[in-house]
Structure formats: structure tokens, C-alpha cells
Amino acid sequence: MIRNMMKTMTQNEGVEALSGEERREFLKLGLKVTGVFAGGSLLSLVSVVEKVYATPNQYHEKYPYKPHYSMVLHVDRCVDCEKCIHACAKTNDIPAYGFRTNILERQIPDGIEQQVEFLPVLCNQCNVAQCARVCPTSATYKSSENGIVMMDVKKCIGCLSCQVACPYNARYFNEEKWAVDKCNFCFDTRLSKGEELTACADACPAGVRIFGDISEQTSRVYREVHQVSRTVWVLRPEAGTKPNVFYTRG
């Protein structure tokens, strides 16, 4: 099915030449594609899909994990009130010198309406997690159930190679735990206890952080990542990490 569509597309007969069913499938692909990569033509972007999601085989069938937790950040709404940072610190016992999530202040000196934008950053729970690849003792690993990059504190030797490997500065060494610490989408403190949202998503007064299961087609996360009209992007796509945290405006 997909192969036929790919062939059709590379022959560039145009979208109108596709059958109704093919079109729906195409749109499904197309939606995913333009949803996650800004700019470019539809045809050239198809191959980008597998760059963002876990494996090429599964991109059009389903997401690899169930639930597949993801987050969408509406950066135009963030006002750096930092309630998310405080909620996270309180829920997860973060010491004052560390953070699991942070707000960056992006400078736009030539901006017309505003010269500053706030970017919340946190662990992207990457599908190709560099930290999990480099950890010598498998202390950090990607959960095969929900896709969260977890931390097994007892195995951490404190070599800090995960900190160096992470393209997002998401990890820090927690002196009290004698291990590296990072965001785990509040799995142990909230999600596994029946809460639906992470602490930061719950605390945000401006609706910046949308958290949910991207494998669930009715979820808001799924809809927002796959809609066409607004650009959705990820941080540092060139790092090849295939993040599960998406950014958008609007």
C-alpha cells in the first residue's frame, strides 16, 4: 500500500491521481509529515517521518509503545512564571542546584511584536536516546512499555557520560541520590499512581504543556502533532534523537 503510494509520488503524478483510499492514507502520512517537520514540500518530506518516530516499519501502523507518552509545548503561551519548575521540584524532590525542566529565554532582537520568547525544555524521552546508548551499566534505559527514558538509580556509577551525550542538557547529577537524575514524566510520582498529567503540565496556568498518549488517536497530543495548519517542530533534529517532545505555537 505504502510502497505503491511512494512509487506514485516519486513519479510525481500529483495528488489528484491517487484513489480516494490512497488519498486518505496519503493524507495520514502527509499529516504526520507536515505536522512534525517545518517547511518543505509534501513529497520530499515523506522520508522525514521515520526520522522522527521510532522505526520505519511502524510509522504508519502504530506507535511502538502503549501508552506512548509525549508532550506538546505551546511556546507562544509560555510566560516564564516557572510554576512548572516549582511543581516539578516539589513533586520529584529536586534539589536547588538542579532542574529536570527549565525555561530558556530566546532572544529575538529583530522581533516586531516581542523581542523575547520562552522555551520550556525538559527531557525529550528520545526514541533514539543517546543517554541510553552510552550508559555503561544500563542504568538509564528506555522503557519498553511507555517509551519513557527511565533511571535505575542503584546502577549509576556517576561517570556522567549521559550528561555529556544528551543534546538537550536534560540530566544532572543528584548528590542526594548519588545518581544522575532526569525527567521521567513523573512516572513514579504521578503516572503510576493514577494521575493523568505530569506535575509541570498540571501546574501550568497558561496551557503551554499538553501531555498525553500520542498513540491514542483521540488524544489532544495526537491531534496537535498531526494537524497541518500550524508548524510543529522538535529541538535539534540534526542530533537524530527522534524526540517525543514537540513544539508549536498557537
Binding site: 507562544d76 503561551r77 509560555c78 510566560v79 516564564d80 512564571c81 516557572e82 510554576k83 542546584y97 538542579g98 532542574f99 527549565n102 525555561i103 530558556l104 529565554e105 511584536e113 516581542q114 523581542q115 523575547v116 520568547e117 520562552f118 542538557n169 544532572y172 496556568p205 497558561a206
Partner: protein, 123 residues
Amino acid sequence: MKRLLMGLVLVGLAGVPVSADDSGGDIHYDKPVIGVLFSHESHVEDAGLDCESCHNDIFSMEAHAVQEEPDFNMLSLSEGRYCGACHDGEMAFASNTRCASCHEGAIGFRRALGMENTGASHY
């Protein structure tokens, strides 16, 4: 009178920052969220407003008094109260757009007050 005096003393004790210049200076709010900047300069000098435009019954002359109001929030602004009296999309940009132009955030707040840690890290 007593209450006004008390109020002034409390404001003074709170030590919240107001830079002293003719038009009233920058006011940095920290309630209900930290880091909202009101610049007298951009309203008085750039936009040409006079004192009466706002200091009639919308805002009192006391700096930071308004953030003690329990309904000083974005909903009120969208209903035309406080800043929303002008920032309705017609007289001035709508209060639910260009968020970071007023919301300097905790980072901007700390920077304005000369505090440490204006966005870079950490141990």
C-alpha cells in the same frame, strides 16, 4: 487616612522595585505570576498617554497595589478590566497576544532586580 498610611508603609516594606523617574518608571509585578513588566516610558513617552488615561479608576497611583486585587488575572483583562481597558485588540494589541512583550518572566524579573541566575545554569 490611617489605612492609607498603613498601605504606604506596607508597600515600602515590601520593597518592590520601582525605578524613580518622572513618568513613574518600570513596575515589575510578581503576583499572580512572577515577572510582568509595566513600562511607564512606553505608555507615557512612546504612546503619549497622560496620567489621567489610567490613573482615574482603572489603576491607583500606588505601585503594585493592583496585584493585591484577587481578580488581577488574564480573564479580567479579556473582560476589559485593568490593562484590558485598552489592550482589547482595537486601542492596543489584545491582551491575549504577544505574551512575552509584557511577561518578562522570572528571568526578566531576576535580571531587573539584579539577582543571580537569569536563565543560564546551575552548579
